[in-house]
Amino acid sequence: MNSALAAFITGLIFAVGLAISGMTQPGKVIAFLDLFGNWDPSLGDLQERLYHLRIDQSIP
């Protein structure tokens, strides 16, 4: 894929991911961090997912 187009499209996809997971809502993020209150574990599911979605190590 054209590198400029890739940058634009990955930006779009990233934003959709943030919105769908609820990370655009500060309350959701704080609820995930509130382990000793009314804990909402949703975003851990996400971090776990990201951990397993390992990508090829092709860092230049």
């Binding site: 634009f8 996809i13 934003a15 959709v16 919105a19 990201l50």
Partner: protein, 143 residues
Amino acid sequence: MENFTPLASLGGGLLIGLSASLLLLCDGKIAGISGIVGGLLSPTQNDTAWRVLFLVGLLTEGLLFSLLAPQVFAISISRSTIALVLAGLLVGFGTRLGNGCTSGHGVCGISRFSVRSIVATVTFMITAIVTVYIINHWLGGSL
């Protein structure tokens, strides 16, 4: 746990992982938002366009969501302006000091087993948990 949304988190996580993977595969770049923005403050040749385009994509989608699904940006916490400004400054200072944020270290770094990123992520997650504990349970949930 009344607001637990595992499927939405899974879907969002997959998309963020897909985005980070594509940026790495196509452009060889790390999808660390603070680093992408930070790089624009001291621009070097041939390293600006992709940053701008990534951010334009990010903000375009944000604009679309704010028009079509404004609940995405629902703010359900109460914080004073001073607290928000101070928080923003601390986040900015910390991400530069630690060379990355939740996206760069937490998503891209951990997924390629970078020790530096694992240390950074564990550090900022513990700090955030302690901060939320103090604010929610000692200070009554608002600042």
